[in-house]
Symmetry: C2
Subunit: 117 residues, 2 copies
């Protein structure tokens, strides 16, 4: 079944609550609304793709920031510590292997499993 | 390095000539311009993700068509024969494992390896 991203983004308003919209082999295609600062974390086992659909997203890295606007993407390499942050709500697609934990090895209150929508 | 998709789409005009814009573990993130009909083919080993950025894309399947507009996506399951077609140029992102051949098992003149841009 096809996925209309705008329709899916219209179904929720919580930020940092990843939603599962499709699978690709053993990868998950997720969408998330981002506002405010996440938590610094690292995925030791996988790269992580961020594609911005709407808004502006900063991916803070220890050696500098990556600023993304609509239709811009960035792949955080495995093992690279990062922390997303956005002043206003940004709508973002995330792609990574199924089971990847959103907070990586950091844990804490912002850890949340993706919910299918 | 971040990828600006509009900038990348501006670098070429050929259709059905996939361009490699990023890697995600052992997956390729590719973009392609689509106009006209491709060739019916199947990927026996992998699902294939189509995300339309601009234009309209029809993914013909043997049991019906999937019509995609901007910000709509579809994952063709492995083993499912399909054939993309578009009346006007559509700008599309493709994600699949590195080494996936664009024409699957069909071969022929439209077979083309992705070129990094």
């Amino acid at each position: 079944m096809k996925v209309n991203l705008d329709e899916k983004f219209g179904l929720f308003s919580e930020v940092y609550a990843p939603k599962l919209v499709a699978g690709l082999n053993d990868y998950d295609i997720k969408i998330v609304k981002i506002k405010g600062e996440f938590v610094w974390h690292t995925h030791d086992e996988t790269d992580e793709l961020f594609l911005v659909l709407d808004g502006k997203l900063t991916i803070q890295l220890r050696d500098g920031d990556v600023e993304l606007g609509p239709r811009e993407m960035y792949v955080v390499p495995r093992g690279v510590e990062h922390c997303p942050i956005a002043d206003e709500v940004a709508s973002v697609m995330l792609i990574e292997p199924r089971g990847t934990v959103n907070t990586g090895g950091a844990g804490g209150d912002m850890t949340k499993a993706p919910e299918a929508i």
